[in-house]
Amino acid sequence: MADLSLEPESALGGYTQNFGDTHLREVTGLDIVSIAVSSGARDALSTLLQEKIGLPWPATGTIERAGDEAALLGLQADQCFRVSASQQQNPVTELACLVGDAAYLTDQSDSWVVLELDGASSVSALERICPIDLSDNEFGALNVARTSMEHISVIIERPDTHRFRLYSPRSSAHSFLHAVTTSLHNL
């Protein structure tokens, strides 16, 4: 039989582009795992997470972060996303060993396409599509929100003040990329 090995493909082919002072790129190589708290195990889970990966359970709307590629995004009262640099093995299996019965895990690594917007025009561009107030006082570093941009469900995170990461569903990644580049062009 012919070689039938599968090569992974990123949704946007590793897109990267400068728009004046602002840079837009597709971030690849991330593992994303949804962590849902099993009933009554919230405190136990938070303790476990702190012990095993050094991050506590994040409050909804905030990020717990250690280094550039290890974070917990607080998306719901009983659900957060763990985002980490890809380990080339099943991210759910690995995390399941750490948290046991305290959480239900679902691999979301291929569900989302991550764009990173870095630079001075980021906020002005996002003003065109994002209904969330992104001012430093309201949505400074280590904030995260899920909202709708151009009819697409998007998670927006601010790892630090000059950078935003935008998670859009993989199937509509091209449409969302168009939404972001249009915003940068229309300034």
Binding site: Q76, P131, R146, T147, S153
Partner: protein, 97 residues
């Protein structure tokens, strides 16, 4: 409109999906003798309130929580926003106590 989400703060109503009367939380007992009537009333009979109305909204483009919102249908003034899950839990405890 803006909805003051209990966990997330003010969010545009465009992120939400509207369902209707919060009476939908009170699903009748299917095993009772008059279940057919009570389900009929539960599903179809609504007060058409001119004033304060408790209603269900779903934060579909957000944290996926169902909310019970008290809204004045005449002015759109929103006076209370609760997590529907909390309201439902309280209803259960009330029924059990």
């Amino acid at each position: 409109m803006l909805i003051d989400h209990p966990l997330l703060g003010l969010r545009d109503a465009a992120e939400f999906v509207y369902l209707g009367d919060a009476a939908l939380l009170n699903r009748p007992d299917a095993s009772s003798a008059d279940a057919l009537d009570s389900f009929h009333d539960y599903l179809h009979l609504r007060d058409n309130v001119a004033g304060e109305h408790r209603e269900l909204w779903y934060h579909e483009q957000g944290d996926r929580s169902w909310l019970v919102i008290t809204r004045n249908t005449l002015t759109h003034a929103i006076t209370a926003v609760e997590l529907a899950r909390d309201v439902a839990m309280n209803l259960r405890e009330g029924a059990n106590s």
